[in-house]
């Protein structure tokens, strides 16, 4: 089970960016083949996926490390060139391009992390109690979540929980068939685009069956297409 999950997570990381450009007829060119631009496109897809997916997706360690390194390089480049300071027209323009792109990439990185933190905060009890979810978090995200959970628990205890009867003090009660712990609802509807034909029909669980053909855009339950998103055949939009 764990192996399968790990595999799925790896696939998910590797394929999130899968062929962003094949789905974009306007952007077919040699320029795109470049590794760097592929990385950037992966970041774009990650950001979109994290914003639209109900679940917390695996943290893209490698990609984020690479991107952050490159951001650092660009910042150094800007510093060096601003200090040397002879401002010919073209050097200024170069700097302008570099700075503009830098801001754009930083926006993406921020957006990605914010989307994650939003979900992590919302489902912190679920994260704290579930090792599978923790494996998808970065070190700092995990540290943050644990500290936040502890602090909230202490605060609630101090403020009102301690004056309630012991049977009502739990924050993770499952009595009455009701979960107190909020977990992501994987059945939530998501918008997807099919990148590659998926053989066979997809059973939607209520008798409806659909075919996933390249270029199709659907709104359906995340649970139904989760596997195909991981395979890279389907993309969240």
């Amino acid at each position: 089970m764990t192996d399968e999950r790990d595999l799925e997570i790896d696939d998910l990381i590797n394929n999130l960016d899968n062929d962003y450009y094949t789905a974009h007829p306007t952007t077919d060119s040699a320029h795109v083949k470049d590794q760097k631009s592929r990385d950037l496109n992966r970041l774009v897809r990650l950001w979109i996926a994290e914003r639209t997916c109900p679940d917390i997706l695996p943290y893209a360690h490698d990609l984020l490390d690479t991107i952050v390194d490159r951001i650092r390089e660009q910042v150094e480049f800007i510093e060096v060139n601003t200090v040397s300071g002879d401002a010919s027209g073209s050097a200024k323009l170069n700097l302008l391009l570099v700075e503009t792109e830098l801001e754009r990439v930083k926006f993406l990185v921020r957006g990605y992390l914010r989307a994650r933190i939003h979900k992590i905060e919302k489902y912190y009890m679920h994260v704290v109690s579930n090792a599978g979810v923790q494996a998808r978090l970065s070190q700092s995200e995990l540290r943050y979540t644990k500290r936040r959970a502890n602090q909230l628990k202490r605060y609630y205890d101090l403020r009102f929980l301690s004056s309630l009867p012991p049977s009502l003090q739990r924050l993770d009660d499952t009595a009455g068939g009701l979960q107190m712990v909020d977990a992501p609802d994987l059945d939530e509807a998501v918008f997807i685009r099919v990148l590659h034909d998926v053989p066979g029909e997809i059973d939607l669980g209520n008798g409806d069956k659909i075919e996933l053909r390249k270029g199709n855009i659907y709104v359906l339950s995340y649970m139904v297409v989760r596997r195909h998103i991981a395979d890279g055949d389907v993309q969240l939009v």
């Binding site: 306007t26 060119s29 302008l96 609802d185 939607l204 409806d208 659909i210 199709n216």
Partner: protein, 313 residues
């Protein structure tokens, strides 16, 4: 609040536009420029009049400084847009495949920043884009009628168009799904009523489990008894008011007895009018079992008299 509420589960238009700016567009540089190392790769080196492809945001930046001309994409020509419009109108159930994913955003960006590079007058292009957009919006709206909890197909929809309906569609589908599952759950529960209750009784320490059921029953009972008490309260208040009216009318009747035949215009106070009204209804003072309609009539009459008095004053 890591994410503002308006950005949860959807994108704001500026973000969609930001994404569209990553797409490539052909430009004709007006001056030479070395290639620049960016995070997303090198920009191609430029030589005047030599067509190259750059991301739209680079093109817009250069355009702003008049260092290049933008070559509008094929689909954005007047001719192609007209074809697209006809295609859109001829089939009202599907989106045509003539437009790229980010057609609204790219069209907006180029119209906004490089209207002089278009082959046709900008207002012509703008109008065509708007017409196409309206046709497609009508289709999207019509499509919402088919919304169900399992799926919705939207082939060839644009990024911005998708984002416009995203919040509504996901919210509606999630609600429908919850309603559907509740219905199924209820049907199942009805089959299992007996064992369900028995289990509760058997488990001594399962009080918590029992709680929702009980409180539900309680609330039912309460609401029933509430209705009863409400009815009696209404009844009593009606009786009360009737008696109160009667009581107040008795002394006034006696007090106005002398002026009973004087015209209404000479009456000078609400109290007197009130009592006069009461007096004009001979059954009222004698009969405790007045029904509502009598009561209302009486009230109306009193009001009328009061108004007359005030007006004449």
């Amino acid at each position: 609040m890591a994410l503002p509420a308006k950005q949860v589960g959807t994108f704001v238009p500026s973000e969609i536009s930001f994404l569209a700016e990553n797409n490539l567009v052909t430009i004709i540089p007006r001056q030479a420029m070395e290639s620049v190392a960016l995070i997303g790769g090198m920009t191609p080196s430029m030589r005047p009049m030599r067509r190259i492809e750059v991301p739209i945001w680079v093109a817009l930046l250069l355009k702003k400084q008049s260092r290049c001309n933008i070559v509008p994409p094929q689909w954005l020509s007047e001719e192609n847009l007209k074809i697209t419009y006809d295609a859109e109108v001829s089939n009202m159930t599907r989106f045509s495949a003539n437009l790229p994913w980010e057609w609204i955003e790219v069209g907006e960006l180029i119209l906004g920043s490089a209207p002089d590079d278009l082959s046709s007058p900008p207002h012509v292009i703008r109008n065509l884009l708007r017409d196409i957009r309206e046709v497609r919006q009508a289709k999207a709206r019509a499509g919402l009628k088919n919304l169900n909890e399992s799926y919705l197909q939207l082939d060839n929809v644009g990024g911005m168009e998708l984002n416009e309906i995203r919040s509504f569609v996901t919210m509606a589908m999630n609600r429908l799904r919850i309603m559907q599952s509740t219905r199924e759950g209820v049907e199942q529960q009805e089959d299992y009523v007996e064992p369900y209750n028995q289990e509760d009784d058997d488990d001594g320490d399962d009080d918590d489990y029992n709680l929702p059921q009980e409180s539900y029953d309680d609330s039912m009972r309460t609401s029933k008894s509430y209705h009863e008490s409400y009815d009696t309260a209404r009844l009593s208040s009606r009786m009360g008011s009737a008696t109160a009216n009667e009581r107040s009318s008795i002394p006034s009747v006696t007090s106005v007895a002398g002026t009973r035949h004087s015209p209404a215009g000479t009456n000078s106070g609400p109290t007197r009018n009130r009592s006069l009204g009461a007096f004009q209804d001979p059954t009222y003072t004698n009969d405790n079992d007045n029904d509502d309609s009598d009561d209302d009539d009486d009230d109306m009459q009193m009001d009328e008299n009061y108004l007359n008095a005030v007006n004449s004053k």
